[in-house]
Point group: C2
Chain length 342, copies 2
DNA sequence: CCGGCGCTGTCAACCGATTGCCTCGCCGCC
DNA sequence: GGCGGCGAGGCAATCGGTTGACAGCGCCGG
């Protein structure tokens, strides 16, 4: 039976108009304002009346119209979450963490994607702002001025990027990267390559700076392998350059690039980790599936999303200033790194 | 000035109140209704006046307040997308496809997760309905009655599940599954196991029914390996049962279960595909990363999401009845299947 | 010379909920 | 007995934008 055929037919047009406080008021025989108070100022109204109103509201299937409330109060109980690319697994846990916090706090999450274009990002935030109480942007591509400008309209929080004067939540990349360098040093590696990400990304520059500083301090040599392709797994095309550089281990900007590099190595017959040890960043879904499984740095993205959303809601509610927790990263050793045969 | 102090500080409270049509009207010297008409009924107003109004609106940074419009017109220009589990990669492409269509049509996407609980799913749809023009639910967990009930309030579309009387978009699993059976038969397999998913899932029963019908027709023997664990990768614990059953190939409910099974095989030293050929379903991210890479069935989830959203928007706009495209699935042969040594 | 028409723009009601202010009735206390 | 106080509920304005009804005006034809 081929029952997969899509059903286009449907009884349309028969939708109920949705009950309002006026309907409830009429049923109970009170004024709409009394209904409003009964429903959200417990105690303001006589207990018995309140009870009758609640029952009537229940019976009518009354739901508050968020638009109407928003119009008057200016609070929409919605927050926007903007990522540059939905299909990038780096964002999954962030989205989930943020969604949980928002939902628990009674906020509805509006979700949007900027398709990796800063102009779309700007326009999208602008478009969304009237509908939401605040915006959480993950790894924003905008200038600091643009962010500051958007911040004048509604609260905005940035995740995975440090922006002066704007609340942001960023895991501490240093702890994990230092652990990675220690790990590689213990394995006998002296010459490291950093497989760089998009040069405009704050996180990319940040990671490189940390690596540079600590590698030098540890007496290791390090070199940045610049990207020649802006797509995330553009790492694959750079294998030749890496081999030519003489490094024995690579720290990649992120797991996607590391995974791309491993694939390339497989194709070219380069042994990983025998010839080249590889460390990723983020521990995304898939990092432990690939063979060899990827040694990488866990940046607890779920917590980043949750913390960023908490930070945003704290601003929206205007209550206490939210103090972001320390979010250390840590190395997860798997199969893609091994000791250098000395 | 020169407030370069660290992140926590931020000039709060200094947010602009956002321009309204009243502000624009005052600047131009016309009435608010004229501004409204100028902005969204081109031609209704004198061209020069309209021009002046547009300029003033631009200068003031005027943005329409969607809440205000929604209150009167009943159209919010938002649609909700509900999935059961954000971290399930099956949904990524669906979300992306749906987001693109919604954004292109000028709709804002509200995103929510039901945490795999049908009660949360129901409550979430109910909560979201007043704010949106329609709801797209992916792989709904609800009864048909519940879905019908929700459908009375606002348009609803279901993806990845067939529901009588409710518009739905489902890829045709039959084409891909038949190809998989053909593929396995060519490789010499005569005895197949279906590694079943959650028994309550429509898609699970659907796939099993299709497999049963066609395997029998092809003269192959087939057996359903029931789940003993509701989590997606619960497949890992079932290896013993599979081996005991004597089948030489497994078709899994989805890639997650197939990947779990492969991991288990690795741990237990069972050769894949030498001892057991494995076919997944969905071709999610990661299916080609694992080793051996997974033979699976591509169900073009991006198109499913796009089609489902188009279907929803067609209902919302009340324009033409949307005719969902045929969405065939097809087999992708990789390394996890091989011929049976006869 | 007058009626009527088309073009522009204004008026005012309305969507649903919230909230400051007011009223009414009742109680208790001096 | 008079008055203050308080509990309970109503009135009406308000948020921002939309829209049907209508008014002023210039112009045309009869």
């Amino acid at each position: 039976m081929s029952d997969d055929s899509p059903a286009a037919v449907h009884r349309v047009g028969s939708r109920k108009p949705a009950a309002t406080i006026y309907d409830v008021a009429e049923v109970v025989g009170v004024s709409p304002s009394t209904v409003s108070r009964a429903l959200n100022k417990p105690g303001r109204i006589n207990a018995k009346t309140e009870e009758r109103i609640r029952n009537a509201a229940e019976a009518l299937g009354y739901r508050l119209n968020p638009m109407a409330r928003a119009l008057l109060t200016g609070k929409t109980a919605m927050v926007a979450l903007l990522v540059s690319d939905i299909t990038n697994p780096v964002f999954y846990d962030i989205v989930r963490g943020a969604e949980n916090v928002a939902t628990d706090a009674g906020y509805t999450l509006v979700f949007a994607e900027s398709h990796r274009r800063s102009d779309i990002e700007f326009a999208t935030v602008e478009r969304l702002q009237p509908s939401v109480d605040g915006v959480l942007v993950v790894a924003s591509l905008l200038d600091e001025e643009q962010i500051a400008q958007l911040s004048e309209t509604k609260p905005i929080v940035i995740a995975l990027r440090r922006v002066d004067g704007i609340p942001h939540v960023v895991p501490n990349s240093e702890t994990g990267l230092v652990q990675a360098l220690d790990h590689l040093q213990e394995l006998g590696h002296r010459s490291i390559g950093y497989l760089s990400g998009p040069t405009t990304f704050w996180a990319n520059r940040n990671r490189w700076n940390i690596l540079l500083e600590h590698a030098v301090a540890k007496g290791m040599s390090i070199v940045e392998i610049p990207p020649d392709d802006p797509v995330p797994n553009g790492g694959a095309t750079r294998l030749r350059r890496i081999l030519a550089s003489g490094v024995t281990a690579i720290v990649a900007y992120n797991d996607l690039m590391a995974i791309g590099l491993i694939s390339e190595c497989k194709q070219e017959g380069v042994d990983v980790p025998g010839r080249l040890s590889i460390v990723g960043f983020d521990d995304v879904y898939g990092a432990n599936l690939i063979s060899p499984s990827l040694t990488t740095i866990d940046s607890s993205l779920g917590k980043v999303g949750a913390a960023a959303m908490s930070c945003l809601l704290a601003q929206v509610d205007g209550t206490t200033a939210y103090e972001p927790p320390e979010l250390p990263t840590r190395l997860i050793v798997r199969e893609s790194t091994t000791s250098l045969p000395s």
